[in-house]
Symmetry: C2
């Protein structure tokens, strides 16, 4: 089917005698002499205005087609005398593919609540807001790939199905080919318990110790029964891992990646971002521009705790060395103190994972979290403990068995080297880019407790 | 840590007084006057040869480091007088990060079987073959994204966790947060049965009906208990879906995508492909070049059956109209008859899925499979049935309840339009690109019945 995408037609440099566009009618307005039809095909936020003269074949073909109908329009692309668009199409012929009964089609021209639109997630990408959100999602994904490719990282696919349950089995989904109620694990598909991954880090480390620089970009799962605007059972994570790199390199990587994605969105998603700036989060674009205009801040955990203790603000959770930072603390640091993204580094080892590299002070590990205004933690990572003896001791200290990690220890037995990596929640990044405050609205078909529709 | 990647150092245009590289020792050879060390950092297949003069500090620092050790070398980059490389480094200093005990390190300089290397999947990316395979995997993934982006497709993330079990529940993994043995589905995380997706198609269709052109690129699952070189329980699929497109558009898309990925690999993975051409699949590069040199073939299923019936070849499975093509038939068509990739279209409706568009002959559907020499089916897709009445009738004919597909039917109720899409198994594509014949060897950590290690 020959046709021109509306994004291309809107960017035309000269009139054209005949082009065909396809799309869904956003609005139709009937006047005496002609009907105006605004057509959208999802290629961009903008609609193409089509003028269908009354009494023509085209008008007869258009018939009752109204909001929501799928049609194609062939006609002359001409400069628009009206305001709001450079080009419009004077229809020569119209084909109606499918109508949308105004009595039952839920997306009539009016404002719908986010909550309602979640119940029709199969249709909401036809609205301006969700079309824009999912185009930004796609562009941000491309920007991530471009960034890593430009730095010679290999995209690796670590397994979703995993036998590891080392990070707290309570949060993991179990996967089985057995019937419900059957508990004969030995007869299960893998002959042992299988879970959905909560992180590809350990496998990414293995690959980084061969390929040098790798990143994952794939779905990740949490079985946490928490109904908050920030948690989903299924979300996408980006996990770079670099051999021959330390914590400084990691902070540089996280800052550069974040900056690159914002710059890419500002350059490639202008009209979609404007929608969010106008209707969802006033000041969004200025804030994004501000974020890339200056270097991010860096502060040690110890200094951060001092800042929080001295700031005079009342927090729900008091802060002292050894406590984990809460979202309220993270947001205070990024929004009020530094007024920009800030990497906090060298956390107490007790509140961080076993694989983080132990600093010489005996108290802290070479971890870093990158905190962003309005979001809180966007990135969490660390230099990894590459010393076999230290890693073994730490695992034992935590009451675990190093043999359960035999292949992970092998990476330290054979040609071990300094390396570092982080995890970045892709949906958090999208919330930062769009100002959307509920994770359910940056995921096409979100999964949360009790919600598995579509 | 300041360093130069070996891929960049090998591409130097002039000598440099001092550079630092890091990597793992592939071989070390000690002569009287100096030691030769071949260093690889995973950025490319090639090694950097380092000359460490005997009696120097650098030589003392190198100490016992041998195959498998991780080191960094700082020195002068000079034109190499030896054969096989343009540049080499004359070491000024060496840092050893980690040794690899020659008694226990399994990757000594010798040929290892693929079967053995699968048992040390955490180390095999340090070999030439698997390093090359995973670099090609990354490049092919980038090529896929670039292709779709250049055609204005949005990358969408359809859910891995799904309540749908419409395509044969027997093949699906079940996901649960219940303890093994507990069958109280109502108390489960989603309050209903949850499976791992076997395809993102239905959700991608919903998104295509808003965004116009979309594709998925993510993990997909099959609980089939089949131990073959072509099946894995977890693999990655690419599923484009286009609104306002028909079967012709779909065949063009599949051919262009395949062609683009091959051209990208030929242009960007030259030395890695040469390894496979030399050691895994002689003639690989010529075959890939041949595939992009001419248009692919197209043949209707009916004609394909006639060709198979008349070709005089004995098949294990006889062919007649209405039978599904087996791998032997698919390979005969692509390898012996057409001698190139071929799209077979208009299959009997009985052997294809309910959502494929019914042709006017009452017998066939607008399906297409793209068959490739040595691989068989690479792509399977169809124009989708966009007519509500036809789709409803077909679902009922198959003894199912259209209400189970309420949201999928909505796409036909509201602004339905012709649309088409396919699925491409990413690992099949990689087997085509590398000549690797076992799917376990194009996946970093493959999942097959009984295999969940790493």
């Amino acid at each position: 089917m020959q046709r021109t995408l509306i994004i291309d037609a809107l960017a035309a440099t000269e009139a054209q005698a005949s082009i065909t566009i396809c799309g869904w009618i956003r609005t139709r307005r009937d006047a005496k002499e002609f009907s105006f039809v605004e057509l959208n095909d999802g290629s961009c936020l903008g609609n193409m205005q089509c003028i269908v003269d009354a009494g023509t074949t085209a008008h007869a073909q258009l018939d009752q087609a109204a909001t929501g109908a799928a049609i194609s329009v062939t006609g002359e692309l001409v400069a628009s005398p009206g305001k709001g668009q450079l080009w419009e199409i004077r229809a020569q012929s119209v084909t109606v593919f499918g109508l949308a009964d105004p009595e039952t089609f839920p997306l009539q021209k009016k404002r719908h609540s986010d909550e309602f639109l979640r119940t029709i997630a199969h249709l909401r990408s036809r609205t301006n807001k969700y079309g824009a959100a999912f185009r930004i999602r796609s562009e941000a994904g491309q920007a991530v790939h471009q960034f890593f490719q430009s730095r010679r990282f290999s995209w690796v696919h670590t397994p979703v199905l995993t036998g590891a349950d080392c990070e707290g089995a309570g949060e993991m989904f179990r996967v089985t080919s057995l019937e419900p109620g059957d508990k004969d694990v030995a007869a299960d598909f893998f002959g042992r318990q299988c879970n959905l991954t909560v992180s590809g880090q350990l496998e990414a480390e293995a690959l980084a110790m061969g390929l040098g620089r790798v990143y994952t970009f794939g779905p990740t799962f949490r079985a946490e029964n928490s109904n908050t605007p920030r948690h989903a059972a299924e979300f996408w994570m980006i996990e770079p891992e670099m051999a021959f790199a330390d914590l400084q390199d990691l902070m540089e990587l996280g800052e550069s990646l974040t900056r690159h994605v914002i710059e890419h969105a500002l350059a490639h998603c202008e009209s979609d971002l404007k929608l969010f700036d106008s209707f969802v989060d006033k000041g969004l674009i200025e804030r994004l521009k501000g974020m890339v205009a200056a270097p991010f801040a860096r502060v040690s955990y110890t200094e951060a705790v001092e800042i929080l203790q001295k700031c005079g603000k009342e927090f729900a959770f008091p802060v002292s060395f050894g406590t984990d930072l809460q979202t309220e603390h993270e947001r205070y640091l990024a929004e009020e103190h530094f007024k920009k993204p800030v990497a906090v580094y060298d956390y107490p080892k007790e509140i961080k994972a076993f694989y983080m590299r132990q600093n010489d002070d005996g108290k802290t590990v070479a971890a870093m979290d990158m905190l962003v205004p309005r979001i809180g933690e966007l990135i969490g990572g660390s230099q990894r403990e590459e010393r076999l003896d230290r890693l073994t001791a730490r695992i034992q200290e935590l009451g675990q068995n190093p043999e359960d990690y035999w292949w992970y220890m092998d990476l330290r037995r054979f040609g071990t080297a300094p390396h570092a990596g982080f995890g970045l929640g892709f949906e958090r990044l999208l919330m930062m880019l769009t100002g959307i405050t509920n994770i359910r609205d940056v995921i096409a078909f979100p999964r949360t407790p009790g919600n598995l529709e579509f």
